[in-house]
């Protein structure tokens, strides 16, 4: 069968199980868009900026476990994707981005809207392709989805010169992948499992740090089994939230820069860290030389390059987290760590980092807790970047994996709204809350139009503090309160929403928070709430800059209620 490049791509997308493509058209993909008309199986979602297409595809992938897909034209379309691709890369999100390119004859001549997007995205993709002939297309598509979705997932870009879209070639979709250099299925070595088991059984103060890898590998059941059998307390990284039941007696919250004090103390005192699908990011470790000084490390990760990159591993177990945990669970002894758990409980009651200040004022933490209460912990929470992100992480209950969507590695302001689009499309029957900051929201608020056009019932909570709050907090703590460039004026968000045809309201009193959230939840359609929260509230605890994770700035205890 002869097909042109555009048809080969579309057919490949269908064969790879793609249902939704996020994107934006332009001259160098016009043939491709024309071809979409022949593929009703592919739902095309028109965003208002290509960055949003990448974030939506990213969030769609995170909440479904499938490979997300986005499309943009050459030049500015492609460069607008870059932030979104980098975001997916740093958080190991499977995604295939397709870009148009100038025709083959014009390549390298600085033609209109030509940029070297394969060059630009070299360090922020797992792999990328410049498809120079239509008969290379099928293989590129097949390989791209395979590479994006297997091993440690990541974004793959396919760049296509415009004349390749219309070039005909003989087409059969390849059945097999022939990638000699791509070894994603690494065998789990029994000797390493034995060593890990030995380390665990000998430890007296062990702790599990569970990260995104547990979620990617769908290993939450195996994690619970391990923790319970060996009676090891569990803490999460930001992206690990949801991979362990949060009402579990062994669960001690998030660790890191804004982690729970007791979680950080536990890491600091532990004699063994079992690191599972996490990469010792500096937001977790703070000052490396002082990180967990008493602990040896069992590091479980699918990416061999993560072992020993930041923290030395005493036992390295390379492999898919689920396989490794299954192997561990087979032979793990039943252990007990009563004294150690008691110690952590003590820290927890001495340093109740999860409590909210007792006041009538409208606190952002209170808004987050109400959202969580109303949804019973079953909503998909999608955040921007800043204080609100940390409050969302600290005060939401996340019952299931793939339900807390946040830009961890890149920390991309503006992520929340477009990501909420992808999350809602991936989980159409669930409540999706975008918890955003007034600053972050203004970076991508044009996507309200996409939400309206696609009729997505996304709920949006803006924790509007009138500041670029996280930066303001740093200025307050470390730069003598010189608030340079952090007070931020905003338009009337309620009117903005209404202009886009989206229902909205403003909340200025604590008493109105709960009713507003209930109203939004029950409303059949998108709903935005502009919460005018306490302007200078801080995210606490906070690890002092350049210190050990046990050196924390905490909420004064007198202010805390047992709400």
């Amino acid at each position: 069968m002869k097909l042109n490049g555009a048809h080969i791509l579309c057919d490949g997308l269908v064969k790879e199980g793609v249902e939704i493509v996020f994107g934006f058209p332009g001259g160098k993909v016009i043939e491709l868009f024309d071809t979409f008309a022949h593929y009703p199986q592919l739902r095309f979602v028109l965003v208002r900026h290509e960055q949003a297409a990448a974030h939506a595809a990213d969030a769609y992938a995170r909440v479904t476990g499938k490979v997300g897909c986005c499309v943009a034209t050459s030049g500015p379309g492609a460069t607008n994707l870059v932030t979104g691709i980098a975001n997916a890369h740093l958080d190991s999100v499977p995604m295939v981005a397709v870009t148009g390119q100038v025709d083959r004859g014009s390549l390298g001549r600085d033609a209109f809207q030509e940029v070297d997007i394969t060059g630009i995205t070299l360090p922020i993709t797992k792999h990328n392709y410049l498809v120079m002939k239509s008969d290379e297309m099928a293989e590129a598509v097949k390989e791209a989805f395979h590479i994006a979705g297997t091993g440690r997932p990541g974004p793959v870009l396919i760049d296509v010169p415009s004349d390749v879209w219309v070039e005909q070639s003989e087409y059969t979709y390849p059945e097999k992948i022939e990638l000699p250099g791509y070894k994603h299925k690494l065998p789990v070595y029994p000797t390493q499992i034995k060593k890990a088991l030995k380390a665990i059984s000998e430890a007296r103060r062990p702790i599990i740090v569970a990260g995104n890898g547990v979620i990617i590998s769908n290993a939450h059941v195996q994690l619970k089994e391990l923790a319970e059998k060996a009676q090891i307390p569990v803490v999460n990284t930001l992206l690990g939230l949801g991979c362990f039941p949060q009402d579990h007696v062994l669960y001690y919250g998030m660790t890191g820069m804004h982690g729970m004090a007791y979680a950080n103390y536990a890491l600091n005192e532990a004699d063994l860290i079992v690191a599972i699908g996490m990469r010792f990011d500096d937001r977790v470790t703070s000052k490396l030389s002082t990180f967990a000084p008493r602990a040896s490390v069992v590091h479980i990760d699918i990416d061999p390059a993560e072992i020993g990159k930041n923290v030395k591993a005493n036992v390295a177990v390379v492999g898919d987290v689920k396989e490794v945990l299954t192997a561990l669970n087979k032979d793990i002894e039943t252990l007990s760590h009563g004294d150690w758990l008691k110690q952590i409980e003590q820290w927890k009651s001495d340093h109740p980092s999860h409590e909210i200040r007792d006041t009538d004022r409208l606190l952002p933490q209170y808004v987050v807790r109400c959202i969580s209460d109303v949804s019973g912990g079953d909503a998909v929470i999608v955040t921007g970047v800043g204080q609100h992100q940390m409050w969302a992480a600290q005060f939401s209950v996340i019952n299931k994996p793939r339900s807390f969507v946040s830009s961890g590695g890149l920390g991309t302001m503006g992520f929340s709204l477009p990501a909420a689009i992808g999350a809602q499309m991936g989980r159409p029957d669930e409540t999706v809350w975008s918890i955003d900051g007034d600053g972050s929201f203004q970076m991508t608020l044009q996507e309200l139009a996409t939400i309206a056009q696609e009729k997505l019932p996304v709920k949006i909570a803006i924790l509007n503090n009138g500041y670029l709050g996280m930066v303001r907090q740093w200025q307050e703590f470390f730069w003598d309160k010189r608030y340079v460039a952090t007070p931020i004026a905003s338009p009337d968000f309620v009117k903005i929403a209404e202009a886009y045809g989206i229902e909205a309201m403003r909340v200025t009193n604590k008493a109105d928070v709960l009713p507003a959230i209930e109203k939004a939840t029950n409303y059949d359609g998108p709903f935005l709430i502009d919460f005018r929260v306490e302007p200078e509230e801080n995210v606490l605890p906070m690890v002092k800059l350049g210190s050990a994770i046990s050196e924390l700035i905490e909420q004064p205890k007198s202010e805390v209620s047992t709400w």
């Binding site: 060059g119 070299l122 360090p123 022939e178 990638l179 000699p180 250099g181 990416d303 390059a305």
Partner: protein
């Protein structure tokens, strides 16, 4: 003697556009201190062989290996520093030489089994191969005559003996062959 901090890595990579770029981009981004890279064909069609010299004092060599492995086009990476290996560089050296100095230079070149490949009224060009130490000694001796121009390749290296130092599994070889066949029939 202090153990050498210079590591010799050999990477077999698919013969594809951009593969050198990918490797170089990786080294730069991660701040790896690379002393030299030499790339050329290997004994397997479709596979190029890179010899990479890494300064082990300033760079975590294991990270270089592991990060290289993450590149999809990289089939095999191996550190042969500890193996018995032959390592060679090639240099072309243009040395100032009056007619009177020529014979002395020729003598020096002879000692190093270097060859005079061009003679001009005021200079000679010397071609020399050898390991880094040998090339450095020759350059040291020629310094006083005046080195007008110098070009050195990066190091290439191979392990002595009959066994392959860079074993590559049969399945990968077959995959590479099939990929090559496919691109050929397309052409």
């Amino acid at each position: 003697m202090v153990a050498s901090v210079k590591h010799t890595l050999v990477a077999l990579v698919e013969d594809k556009p951009g593969v050198l770029n990918r490797s170089a981009s990786l080294f730069r981004r991660r701040g790896f201190n690379i002393e030299s890279i030499a790339v050329g064909h290997s004994e397997i069609r479709g596979l190029s062989r890179m010899t990479i010299v890494v300064d082990g004092a300033s760079t975590a060599v294991e990270q270089v290996e592991k990060q290289l492995y993450k590149l999809v086009d990289v089939v095999k990476v191996i550190d042969i520093t500890e193996d018995r290996m032959v390592s060679r560089e090639l240099a072309l050296i243009k040395v100032s030489a009056t007619a009177a100095q020529r014979s002395e230079i020729v003598q020096i070149a002879d000692i190093f089994r270097a060859r005079i490949v061009d003679v001009a009224p005021d200079s000679v060009m010397i071609e020399v191969t050898g390991d880094e130490a040998k090339l450095n000694s020759l350059l040291e001796l020629l310094k006083d005559f005046g080195i007008k121009e110098l070009v050195r390749t990066g190091r290439i290296a191979m392990v002595r003996g009959t066994s392959e130092a860079v074993p590559i599994d049969e399945e990968s070889v077959q995959k590479i062959k099939r990929r090559r066949k496919k691109t050929k029939t397309e052409k």
